[in-house]
């Protein structure tokens, strides 16, 4: 852990916005693509998955940060995984208690949050080097960025593939749904479109500054 430590910088708006914009997990880092592709057949699924991941991310980053001085580096990954798996189990129970229909819709992808690389990545790269509050703020930003990404994909796929948004029909009877958009290939098409758009926005915002593919 001899990398330059940004811990002293304190919490700024950037700590939060990092995950939403500069290092957005979906659009910039292209991390955790398994649930991104699989569950985003509707806007509500995307948002629910995003919230579940944010919960796991925030709680595990908090605990990892709290224990950061205690955990020996040799066993840190094992410890992080145990912590992440705990919060995934928690969120699993909570979703079942909240809505079984949603639980069925998200299926195995709730349990698979445990192997989502955003969470382990954040625990290792940020939470283990920063105080709890900062880790939580950063995790919330990352979670929000991930949720926005999932919603963008889920919303687009639901509109194109089913003619609906949040289950509400948008175009009336005569709309012929573009079914491929809710099938797996549609996930790639829509993701590609969004990556392109986001890269354009970022390119404009940075005014020819650094751009890098993920």
């Amino acid at each position: 852990m001899s990398l330059p430590n940004p811990a002293d910088e304190g919490i700024t708006f950037d700590t939060f916005m990092e995950g939403v914009w500069r290092q957005n997990p979906v659009f910039v880092m292209v991390l955790g693509m398994c649930p991104v592709m699989a569950v985003t057949v509707s806007a509500i699924n995307g948002i629910s998955m995003g919230i579940a991941t944010t919960f796991v991310l925030t709680c595990s980053c908090f605990l990892v940060s709290l224990l950061r001085k205690l955990v020996p580096k040799e066993v840190r990954i094992a410890t992080y995984i145990v912590i992440i798996a705990t919060f995934v189990t928690l969120v699993d129970y909570l979703i079942q208690a909240g809505s079984l229909a949603l639980y069925e819709a998200l299926g195995a992808f709730i349990q698979l949050i445990v192997v989502n690389c955003i969470i382990l990545g954040r625990a290792e790269a940020h939470a283990s080097r920063n105080p709890p509050l900062k880790a939580v703020v950063n995790a919330l930003g990352m979670g929000l960025g991930f949720t926005i990404g999932l919603f963008a994909l889920g919303g687009t796929r639901e509109i194109l593939g089913a003619g609906k948004l949040f289950g509400i029909s948008l175009f009336g009877e005569h709309f012929q749904p573009w079914v491929v958009m809710v099938l797996p290939p549609g996930g790639f098409f829509v993701l590609g479109g969004w990556l392109l758009l986001f890269a354009l926005f970022r390119g404009k915002a940075a005014e020819g500054g650094h751009t890098h593919g993920a």
Binding site: V41, Y93, Q96, S99
Partner: protein
């Protein structure tokens, strides 16, 4: 990751202690969440079953779980008896038996399609079908819950038991779209034959197991 050459290893007991501490914290959290959510989850499952049963047996107001075994039928409390088949008996407001609901499952296009069907005692036929869970292709296989012509198959699907009470008089069978001639056949959805067949197979397998055990004892269900 290229770490500096000087390796300072942590003593094993510290590692074990840390992992032990973390595991304890996590264990407490999980047990807490499990205890806290057990009741709402059970309640949610009950509501889900009730809703599904009411959908396939319109007019029902209460549901009771039973198990049909080779020797008779009994209320299902706790574990399923050996060789038993689970079913739901649905009663209306006045306590009159509205019908029987049971679950069937068969492999569909992408995963198992689990269906719930409602059985009417008088006409000895299936009067409703709903999907419990499926992962069929949106827009194609999932038409089994929206296609009105397909759902019409389950308004009076013949599942009479033969006179020896060993099996159904006629096995429920899904036939190609537009070729249904008998009341025990299911007219498949054109373009979603595999999913339609899964529904037919699921119902047939379940009804073949359940109804021969249930029909001779059906009077016991009437209050």
């Amino acid at each position: 990751m290229s770490e500096p050459v000087i390796h300072k290893t942590t003593p094993a007991n510290k590692m074990v202690l840390t992992m032990g501490l973390v595991a304890t914290i996590c264990g407490v959290l999980i047990v807490g969440a499990f205890e806290g959510t057990q009741a709402p989850i059970a309640e949610n499952k009950r509501i889900m079953v009730e809703r599904a049963v009411f959908k396939v047996l319109p007019g029902a107001a209460t549901v009771r779980e039973y198990a049909a075994t080779a020797t008779g039928i009994q209320p299902l409390t706790g574990a399923m008896p050996e060789g038993g088949v689970k079913f739901y008996a649905a009663y209306d407001q006045a306590g009159v038996l509205k019908g029987i609901a049971a679950e069937g499952a068969a492999k569909g296009y992408s995963d198992t399609v689990r269906v719930l069907y409602g059985y009417d005692v008088q006409c000895q036929c299936i009067i409703g079908m709903g999907v419990v869970s499926m992962r069929e292709t949106p827009g194609i296989g999932d038409k089994i819950i929206t296609d009105q012509a397909f759902l019409k198959n389950f308004e009076a699907l013949d599942v009479r038991v033969n006179t020896e009470m060993t099996a159904l008089a006629n096995a429920v069978k899904t036939v190609k779209h537009g070729t249904k001639t008998n009341p025990w056949q299911i007219d498949a959805i054109a373009g979603a034959t595999i999913t339609s067949k899964a529904v037919g197979r699921g119902i047939n397998e379940s009804a073949q197991k359940l109804l021969p055990k249930l029909v001779p004892h059906i009077a016991e269900l009437k209050p």
